[in-house]
């Protein structure tokens, strides 16, 4: 129960849409969303396939709680093989389209093959069909969204769409839904573009029922909502300041990756922080932030809705950017700001708008710009390469220009679209790329937060904070405070976070609930909704199974354990300021313990015993 038990399979080669039954045996082992879709991917796709070829598949997937009244129960994920990392990609998004898919009666949509012509998928409850998208191709996400709403004359149609960046091959392109929420990381939008699939437009009016124990479910849901409301973080901190409140915190502890991670503190942090978004602007007296917003069903509402100052150079003659849209979240503000040295809140907000409008992961985009800036500083890139653009650090105008070029795949934007790894290789300085497994880092320097170093190195989708967010414990004291500079106990902490996150990501809930909820709050909601015994232990077991399945896919894709590492800069060049001064990330002290805890061999291979245990 809670699952609709129906999958929509879309064959882009033949243009057909077919319904099939959800594999319930797999659902009981993998729950839904991230886990279940990865199982399908793992069974149906050769991990060695070309990520941008017709043999790769793209799966849009919901969890059993997606579309229910469980707080934050609106999540969906896009699962595929990543063109950026060559490994499994699973990008999670909020907004409303996940719930709409569920309301239309589908747990999952699997896209396979490649369409000869640009198409979009239109789903209205049981009816699904591919339609020509020639008029949408070449349009931004925002333009295509408006066209689709008009075409179907339905203001409540929910749209997930790729922008021009994906069409132009930008390797970290996102699938953007509801205008400004995104399945952002690992280039899932690039895969969608490779299939000539521009958009998915869904209208669901069937509703989500099939709750195993409705009364028990509502009791668990209401108890959960109360915990979120009473918790200072989810009840006050996140709604008021959003994730951006971290800007000053992380800077304060000296773990703010700055100017391509050469430094660990950013002098301009407070100017682009969550607090700064509340400050009235000199020009019009209005703050950058207009309001907070919730995704479907979310009673936290950490989302930011903001405007750019109309007089700012980036938008001064562009009234189309004078309205409100989504932003800034911490990771984007960091990547577009600290990592490039830009402390101009309006410029960062505008560039974040562009990332949404044309479907680019702002983390990877900002980090790639930061790498380009260092290459420029080192003389590896010159104005001859850039078409005259001065790529010096700290330049807001450069950031804006590069965003506009990359969004459309023009000029030097083509190179920025390669991502940090390929860019640095192209210009002969691969060591300047701040990536793990070819994916750019997010906003926590592992020299100042040791556990995050291990989390990054072992993440199944390359550098990522959302695979094991030990920041919660090491910095924020959730659930208990640990010392960010210590390595002891971090292997266990990382594993625990990774497994729990995999389970939450498979349920349809948002991982941000875990700032207030433990698995003791989550499991009863899943259990009341779903058939089967969904105890805390079962949830954690499923999380660990998912982690091993992802690892297995990656190994079959050709990944080797020596890729479980960090860039040399983070392992060799000590931090020069702040509490972490003199420290590098001591990955070698944590990794062997981690492998052992995972039931893997000393060289990172999944042991036969572990395989048997998780029925891989």
């Amino acid at each position: 129960m809670a699952w609709t038990r129906k999958i929509l399979r879309v064959d882009l080669n033949n243009g057909t849409c077919t319904a099939e039954a959800l594999n319930m045996a797999w659902a009981k082992d993998y729950l839904g969303q991230r886990g279940l879709a990865t199982k399908y991917l793992s069974e149906e796709v050769d991990p060695k396939c070309d990520a941008l070829g017709p043999d790769n598949k793209l799966i849009m997937t919901t969890g059993p709680l997606t579309g229910t009244m469980a707080s934050t129960g609106g999540r969906y994920s896009v699962v595929t093989k990543s063109p950026l990392t060559g490994l499994v990609a699973c990008s999670n998004s909020g907004g409303f389209i996940g719930a709409e898919m569920k309301n239309a009666g589908w747990d999952m949509i699997i896209f396979e093959g490649k369409s000869a012509q640009p198409v979009y998928l239109y789903v209205e409850n049981d009816t699904a069909e591919l339609r020509p998208a020639d008029d949408l191709w070449g349009k931004s996400v925002w333009e295509a969204d408006e066209l689709l709403h008009k075409k179907h004359q339905d203001p409540l149609l929910r749209v997930a769409c790729i922008g021009r960046a994906a069409e132009q091959g930008c390797l970290y392109s996102a699938v953007v839904n509801d205008l400004h929420r995104a399945a952002g990381r690992s280039g899932v939008g690039t895969v969608m573009a490779s299939k000539n699939l521009k958009a998915v437009a869904i209208r669901g009016t069937k509703g989500v029922g099939n709750i195993r124990d409705p009364q028990g479910f509502m009791a668990a849901v209401n108890a959960g909502k109360q915990v979120l409301a009473d918790n200072a973080v989810t009840g006050q901190g996140l709604p008021t300041y959003g994730t951006q409140v971290l800007m000053n915190v992380i800077n304060g502890i000296g773990a703010m990756p700055t100017r391509n991670m050469r430094e660990v503190q950013f002098d301009g942090a407070s100017k682009i922080s969550g607090e700064a978004m509340h400050e009235p602007r000199k020009s019009d007296g209005k703050p950058n932030l207009t309001t907070n917003a919730g995704c479907f069903g979310c009673t936290i509402a950490c989302g930011r809705i903001s405007t750019v100052d109309r007089g700012h150079f980036s938008v001064e003659n562009k009234p189309e950017y004078w309205g409100n849209s989504g932003g800034l979240e911490y990771e984007a503000a960091w990547a577009l700001g600290s990592d490039t040295g830009v402390d101009d809140l309006d410029a960062i907000t505008y560039v974040n708008f562009l990332c949404n409008e044309d479907g680019m992961d702002p983390i990877s985009f900002g980090a790639t710009v930061a790498a380009a800036m260092e290459l420029f500083q080192e003389g590896a890139i010159t104005t001859e390469h850039t078409g005259g653009i001065d790529l010096s650090f700290d330049r807001a105008d450069t950031l804006v220009k590069l965003a506009e070029l990359t969004a459309k795949g023009e000029g030097f934007g083509k190179d920025i679209g390669l991502g940090s790894k390929r860019l640095c290789e192209k210009y002969g300085r691969p060591e300047l790329s701040m990536t793990v497994k070819s994916q750019e880092f997010p906003a926590y320097d592992p020299r100042g937060i040791q556990g995050m170093g291990l989390a990054y190195a072992t993440s199944n989708r390359g550098a990522c904070h959302l695979r094991g967010y030990t920041v919660a414990s090491e910095v924020l004291g959730i659930p208990v405070k640990t010392d960010p500079l210590a390595t002891e106990g971090k292997a266990e902490l990382v594993k625990a976070f990774q497994d729990a996150t995999a389970a939450v990501d498979s349920s349809g809930l948002c991982v941000f609930t875990t700032f207030a909820w433990s698995m003791e709050n989550i499991a009863p909601q899943v259990d009341a909704a779903c058939d089967g015994d969904w105890s805390v232990d079962k949830m954690l077991e499923v999380g660990e199974r998912i982690w091993n399945l992802e690892r297995d896919f990656n190994m079959r894709a050709g990944m080797t354990a020596d890729q479980d590492t960090l860039p040399k800069r983070l392992l060799k060049d000590a931090a020069t300021v702040g509490p972490a001064k003199g420290r590098v990330n001591d990955l070698d002290k944590m990794l062997p313990e981690y492998y052992a805890l995972r039931g893997w061999t000393a060289d990172g291979q999944i042991t036969p015993e572990t395989r048997t245990r998780f029925r891989l």
Partner: protein, 409 residues
């Protein structure tokens, strides 16, 4: 005070109830010429669909509703109004006096001069008696020809199709519902009906009807067990001849529902009342207008000088599951702008007509949610300001425009 109301339809019943609220002591009498308790013609299609029993068409649920309100409902037919004598003469020879008279006699189907239209296999669909004839004659598999695909015809069409008959529809106009919607929307309705197995002939008349069926002007032969006509209605004004009450298409009234004769008022289908959109006087034979008329006429009859703002012409149709609606000047006004979206493959159409920055009319097919705001925007004459341009660019943002211009947001 003696109030007499001729006609037991929605206008008459609403007027009677309103009068009772305003005046506890008055004598209130409704006189109707059909044998059933007051009922709603709007409900007949649902009777034909077997959704409801006859009782479900009754205007008031409780059998003693009128008795409780001390409203006397009498069966009878008025032959003549003696305005000077403040009396009406009945067909059965009796007469009734009044202090204040409301003419709410409604309208009746028009029968075009087609040979054979008076045949025993031909019926209109207007009264409960008609409905019983159709229920008896239109069984699953019966061949039925429906003449007329205007608003009423289209509602009847829905009911007939639900009965599982083999249905053909003939409409003399160029499209279905020609007085309710433009060519795109009307054409869409026709294609929709055809896709559901109904044969639709537009732009052609019927030349004759006989016991075996219908022959069209181009000699196309449509075999039929039953022929139903829905070729328009006209106000029931015949009995007013010689009364001095002025009649045009319907009874001429002013903004207080007064006729030219003292103490005689008119409301509903029989009245040629103020049209909100045009400022002219016209017969709007629709249910909401009838009840509005009845309500405000009663206010005036009781001495309150309530000035009518006019009725908005509007209709909503469900044609075999395809919803459509029409409001006000759906065909536009001179010098006004027009926003339109047409998606024939998706069975959707939306058309907004503006006069300056005010909405004056609309047509929609496939719109099912918050439809009433179209009435709200038109009838409130809401200045749309910047939302006019936004609607010109994207008419689907109607609800936002409505909220932004009428609510505190």
């Amino acid at each position: 005070m003696q109030y007499l109301i001729i006609g037991a339809g929605p206008a008459g019943v609403t007027a009677a109830e309103t009068l009772r609220r305003l005046d506890a002591d008055a004598t209130i009498r409704i006189i109707g010429d059909e044998p059933e308790p007051p009922y709603s013609r709007m409900a007949i299609p649902y009777l034909l669909m077997d959704n409801i029993a006859e009782q479900g068409t009754h205007l008031r649920e409780h059998g003693n509703h009128f008795a409780d309100l001390r409203i006397d409902v009498t069966r009878g037919r008025v032959e003549q109004v003696d305005a000077a004598g403040h009396r009406v003469r009945l067909q059965d020879g009796g007469s009734l006096s009044y202090d204040s008279l409301l003419i709410a006699t409604g309208s009746s189907p028009v029968h075009p001069p087609i040979p054979g239209i008076d045949g025993p296999n031909v019926t209109s669909c207007w009264t409960l008696a008609d409905a019983r004839r159709i229920l008896a004659g239109a069984r699953s598999g019966s061949r039925v020809v429906l003449i007329g695909a205007g608003f009423i015809g289209s509602i009847v069409l829905e009911a007939l199709a639900q009965r599982g008959v083999q249905l053909s529809v003939v409409e003399q106009g160029e499209r279905m519902v020609p007085r309710m919607m433009g060519p795109e929307a009307g054409g869409m309705l026709k294609r929709w009906c055809e896709s559901k197995g109904v044969s639709v002939y537009t732009g052609i008349g019927v030349s004759s009807i006989d016991a075996g069926g219908v022959t069209l002007a181009d000699d196309t032969r449509l075999e039929a067990d039953l022929v139903i006509t829905a070729t328009g209605v006209k106000s029931n004004v015949g009995f007013l001849e010689g009364s001095g009450v002025k009649v045009d298409q319907g009874v001429l009234i002013d903004r207080h529902f007064r006729t030219n004769v003292a103490d005689v008022y008119a409301a509903g289908d029989v009245a040629q009342g103020l049209d909100f959109s045009t400022g002219d006087y016209a017969v709007h034979a629709i249910q909401p207008t009838a009840t509005d008329h009845g309500h405000i006429a009663a206010l005036n009859m009781s001495g309150q000088a309530a000035e009518y703002e006019g009725s908005l012409n509007m209709n909503v149709l469900d044609t075999l599951g395809l919803l459509s609606c029409s409001f006000g000047r759906w065909d536009g006004v001179a010098g006004g702008e027009h926003a339109e979206l047409y998606a024939p493959d998706d069975w959707r159409y939306l058309s907004l007509q503006f006069d300056g920055d005010r909405l004056v009319g609309a047509n929609a097919v496939g719109l099912s949610q918050h439809v009433g705001i179209l009435r709200g925007l038109i009838q409130r004459r809401t200045p749309l300001g910047e939302w006019k341009e936004r609607l010109m660019r994207d008419p689907t943002r109607l609800m936002e425009a409505y909220l932004a211009t009428t609510q505190v947001i």
